[in-house]
């Protein structure tokens, strides 16, 4: 699946997107964050304050407990500050 990063999350990770293949057992958005953070030091730091990170699955805002099965794209980003 493709993972997108925006704003300071993108900067801290030094990348805007990547392809990942999480193992079985990575079932939810929260699981995916844990898995990304466990495998990469920059990700561990970027996702340090997990509760403020927002996620979108295939261009739909979701909560951290949402299952990710079947999703093609997941985006992670800080709280939104438009307008």
């Amino acid at each position: 699946m493709k993972v997108l990063y925006f704003a300071w999350l993108r900067e801290r990770l030094n990348k805007g997107e990547e392809e990942v293949a999480p193992p079985e057992g990575v079932a939810t958005v929260a699981d995916l964050i844990d898995w990304l953070a466990a495998n990469d030091e920059a990700a561990a730091l970027a996702f340090e304050d997990r509760k403020i990170i927002r996620a979108a699955l295939d261009e739909e805002l979701v909560e951290h407990q949402t299952p990710i099965a079947g999703a093609r794209t997941i985006a992670f980003f800080p709280p939104m500050t438009g307008g």
């Binding site: 997108l4 925006f6 704003a7 300071w8 993108r10 979108a56 261009e59 739909e60 805002l61 985006a75 980003f77 800080p78 709280p79 939104m80 500050t81 438009g82 307008g83």
Partner: protein, 153 residues
């Protein structure tokens, strides 16, 4: 109804004229125009807006559709810029058209409150001390949440 995301500057007056053209059936247009703010205490040279195009378009169209239905608007439009803009420049404009003023005020207000917190844009300010990401404000969440009482969304 339209939602336009663009990097180019636009003229709010021309947008109003275009939106009102041929609408003799409606009596009230409320617009909100948001601009890049710079004050002596917090000088801003430029503001850069990053966005997630597909989701931004979808979210704003959703809030616009909800505003139309909830307040019985005749029409609504949103123009939101992304990229880098100078202080004083227009960032966003909302135009809400209705038969009477209250619905138009409420529609514009509702749309802006949702857009601030739930449309994927991120502001980065450049000032004399460098660049910083603008932090989200709790009061923006509160402003959005007041619309949740009674009817959802």
């Amino acid at each position: 109804m339209f939602v336009r995301l663009q990097s180019a500057p636009f003229d709010p007056g021309a947008e109003i004229a275009g939106f009102l053209k041929g609408r003799e059936d409606t009596g009230a247009l409320v617009t909100f125009t948001g601009t890049v703010r710079s004050t002596p205490g917090k000088p801003v040279k430029t503001l850069t807006l990053e966005h997630y195009p597909a989701l931004a378009q979808k979210q704003i169209a959703r809030f616009a559709t909800q505003a139309m239905a909830r307040f019985g608007l005749a029409d609504i439009a949103v123009i939101h810029r992304f990229g880098t803009m100078n202080r004083g420049e227009v960032i966003v404009m909302v135009l809400a058209l209705a038969a009477h003023r209250q619905a138009a005020f409420d529609g514009a207000n509702y749309l802006m409150d949702w857009l601030k917190t739930d449309a994927p844009f991120w502001k980065r300010e450049a000032g004399p001390d460098g660049e910083t990401w603008v932090a989200a404000k709790a009061e923006d969440d509160t402003a959005r949440d007041k619309w949740k009482t009674g009817r959802e969304g």
